[in-house]
C-alpha cells in the first residue's frame, strides 16, 4: 500500500483520525481497491465508526496488489503524527502513507514547508476484520442537515450528558436529554429542543418513533463534519436498532453506527415523561413486553489469514430484529470494557467469528454492510 494525500486532505485525514479516537483505542486500517478504510470500535462494542477514503481522495493510491491486508495499531500513536492541526494546516504539504509488511511498519511521512521531512514508522498488529452490520438504506427515517445545525443543537446539552433521545413526527424532530429511569426526577434537568422539518436538507420519516443513543460519538463525528463542511445524515429505525450517522462526499464516506436503547427501556422512559408533548403523538410500542435489554449491532470478526471470504452463512435481513444477547455474551461484553463500564442498556453486541474466504476484499465492506446480524453463538468454527 502506498498513498499520498496533499493539501487540505491531510487535515481531513487528521480530523478523521481524531474523531475515531473518540470511539476507540485502536485504529483498524484496511487498504482496498475501493480506498483506504479506517475503523474504530468502542470497548463495549456499542459504537462503531468507519471512514472510507476513496482512491480519488489521494493524489496517488495503490492498494496492496495481491492479497487482503489489514492491521490495527494504538490510535494514540497515529494521533501523535497528526497531533497539531494548526501546524498541519500551516506547514504540511503532503502526507504519504506506506505499508511495509515485511518490517511490520506503517510509515507515515509528512512533507512540510522548508523541506522538513517527518517520518514516523509505526508498529502494527495483524487483526481480524472489523465490520459492523447495518443497513442504512432500509431505514425508514432519514434526517439530513448541515453540520452547523447539528452542532448548534448539540451545544445546548451539557458536556457531561451521555445520552440523547431523538423523537420524530411527520414534520418535527425533538431532542431531549435522556434521564435514567432511576434518576430522582425532582433533581433531573430536562432540556428539550424542537426542530422543524424545514431546518433539514432532507427529512423523510417513515415511522414516528423515539430513539436514544450516546452523544459522545455524535459529537466526534460533528468535529469531523464541521471541518469538512459536509452535511450529516441520520438513518434510524425503531428503538433497539442501530442509528447510522453518515457523512458522504464524492471522495469519502463516514459511517458511525451506534446502538440505541431498547424499546422496553424507552417505554419506561415514556412513562416517566408522560407530560411531554411529542411522546403523546408517538405510536404505542409493539414490543413492550420484552425484558431483554437491547437489540444488537452485530460485529463480525474474522481471521486474517484465510484465502477467501464469504458472507456469514445465515445472514438475512429478517434476522435484524432478532434478539441476540444471552447472559453469557452480556458478561463477555462487560469484561471487554476497559475505558468505561458500558451502560447495560447499550450492551448490544454480537460477535460472530467467520473464517475469511474468497479474494474479494474490496467488496467485503459493502457486502458485509448489507449483511445483517447472524444470531448464532460468538465463535463459529471454520466452515
Amino acid at each position: 500500500m502506498d498513498c499520498v494525500a496533499t493539501g487540505g486532505n491531510v487535515k481531513v485525514l487528521a480530523k478523521a483520525i481524531h474523531s475515531l479516537s473518540r470511539i476507540g483505542e485502536e485504529l483498524y486500517l484496511e487498504p482496498t481497491e475501493d480506498g483506504l478504510t479506517l475503523r474504530a470500535v468502542n470497548s463495549s462494542r456499542s459504537a462503531f465508526a468507519c471512514f472510507l477514503m476513496s482512491p480519488l481522495f489521494f493524489q496517488r493510491y495503490q492498494a496492496p496488489p495481491d492479497h487482503a491486508f489489514r492491521c490495527k495499531m494504538p490510535i494514540k500513536s497515529v494521533q501523535t503524527v497528526f497531533r497539531s492541526l494548526s501546524s498541519l494546516e500551516r506547514s504540511v504539504e503532503k502526507c504519504r502513507i506506506e505499508m511495509n509488511t515485511e518490517k511490520c511498519r506503517l510509515r507515515i511521512t509528512l512533507h512540510c514547508k522548508h523541506g522538513l521531512l517527518k517520518t514516523h514508522n509505526l508498529s502494527f498488529q495483524d487483526c481480524e476484520n472489523l465490520q459492523a452490520v447495518f443497513d442504512k438504506d432500509n431505514c425508514p427515517n432519514v434526517l439530513r442537515a448541515q453540520p452547523r445545525l447539528w452542532v448548534d443543537t448539540v451545544l445546548h446539552f451539557p458536556p457531561s450528558l451521555e445520552e440523547v433521545s431523538v423523537s420524530v413526527s411527520s414534520d418535527r424532530v425533538w431532542l431531549r436529554n435522556h434521564v435514567e429511569d432511576d434518576a430522582d426526577s425532582s433533581k433531573a434537568m430536562m432540556t428539550e429542543l424542537c426542530l422543524s422539518s424545514e431546518e433539514f436538507d432532507h427529512f423523510a420519516i417513515g415511522t414516528q418513533t423515539t430513539i436514544t443513543f450516546c452523544l459522545k460519538e455524535l459529537r466526534g463525528l460533528l468535529v469531523f463534519a464541521e471541518t469538512a463542511g459536509l452535511p450529516v445524515s441520520m438513518y434510524f429505525d425503531e428503538p433497539g436498532s442501530p442509528v447510522v450517522l453518515n457523512v458522504t462526499d464524492s471522495v469519502l464516506e463516514a459511517n458511525f453506527v451506534l446502538a440505541t436503547l431498547s424499546e422496553e427501556a424507552h417505554q419506561r422512559n415514556h412513562n416517566n415523561n408522560k407530560a411531554d408533548g411529542p411522546q403523546t403523538e408517538l405510536p404505542p410500542d409493539d414490543f413492550m413486553c420484552d425484558d431483554i435489554d437491547s437489540y444488537l449491532i452485530a460485529m463480525e470478526t474474522s481471521d486474517l489469514a484465510g484465502p477467501s471470504y464469504e458472507p456469514p452463512p445465515q445472514t438475512s435481513s429478517t434476522n435484524r430484529k432478532s434478539r441476540l444477547i444471552s447472559e453469557e455474551e452480556d458478561e463477555e461484553v462487560e469484561e471487554d470494557s476497559e475505558e468505561r463500564p458500558p451502560n447495560k442498556k447499550f450492551c448490544s453486541l454480537f460477535f460472530g467469528s467467520v473464517l475469511p474466504a474468497s479474494p474479494q476484499p474490496s467488496n467485503q465492506t459493502i457486502q458485509s454492510q448489507e449483511v445483517l446480524a447472524s444470531d448464532s453463538e460468538d465463535e463459529r468454527p471454520s466452515e
Partner: protein, 250 residues
Amino acid sequence: MIQYLCLICNCVEQMLDGGEVTVEESKCLQANAFIQAEIFQEFTLKEDVVGFQVNLTVLLDCLTIFGGSTVPGVSTALRMCYNGYGYPLTLFLEEGGVVTVCKINTQEPEEPLDFDFCSTNVTNKVILQSDSLKEAFSELDMTSEILQLTMSPSHPYFRLSTFGNSGNAHYDYPKDSDMMELFQCTKTQTNRYKMSLLKPSTKALALSCKVSVRTDTRGFLSLQYLVRNDDGQICFVEYYCCPDEEVDEE
C-alpha cells in the same frame, strides 16, 4: 566585557541547568547563560572577576516572590548586589511600590565541569532557525529514552530520531532548507543523547530565535541558543551534553 559576563554566568549557570545537582551528580550536562551587561540598566563591577554559588531553588523563589504572574503592564524591578566574598547576595525586588529585600547566602563556588568542548574539534555544525526545531521538540515522542542526532554531509544531513513504544520517528532537515542558516558537516556522525537531559533545554529553545548545534570528535553535543529580548538585545544560553553510548557509524 568578559568580566561582566563571568559574574552573571556563574550565578545563572545553575539557574538554567536545573540546579547544581544536575551538574554535579550526573556530570553529563552543563548549561551556561551569557547575559550581556547591556541587558541591565546599570552594571557596576569593582573587581575583575567575581564568582560565587547560590542555591538555585532559593534564587528562583526570590525572583518570583511577587507571584511571577504576567499581568500586562506590571513588571517586577530587580536590583542585585553582592558585597564580596562571604557576603550574601542581596536582591531588591519592587512591584507596584512594594519592595522586598532578599538575602541569599553565598557558597564557595565549586569547580565547574570542564566539557573541554573546543571549536577546533568540532566536526559538524549547523545553525537553524528555532521555529523549525520548536515544532519538532514539541512533537517528539517522549516514550523514547533517547534522542538520536545524525549530522552528515550527505543525506539525511540533519536528522532527529526517536525510538518509542509505538515505533520510531525521524525528522529530517535538508541542508538547503530556508530554516538552515549554516550547514558545515564534514563527517557523518550519529550520537544518542538522553531525552531527560535534553528536555530542560527546550525551555531555552522556546525563548530563542536561532540555535547552533555542534558536535565534536567525541560526540559531545553543544547547543547554543540565541535569545533576543523585547529591546532587541541578545543573550546566549549554552548546553553541553555528553553522548549516551557509542553508535556504530555507517
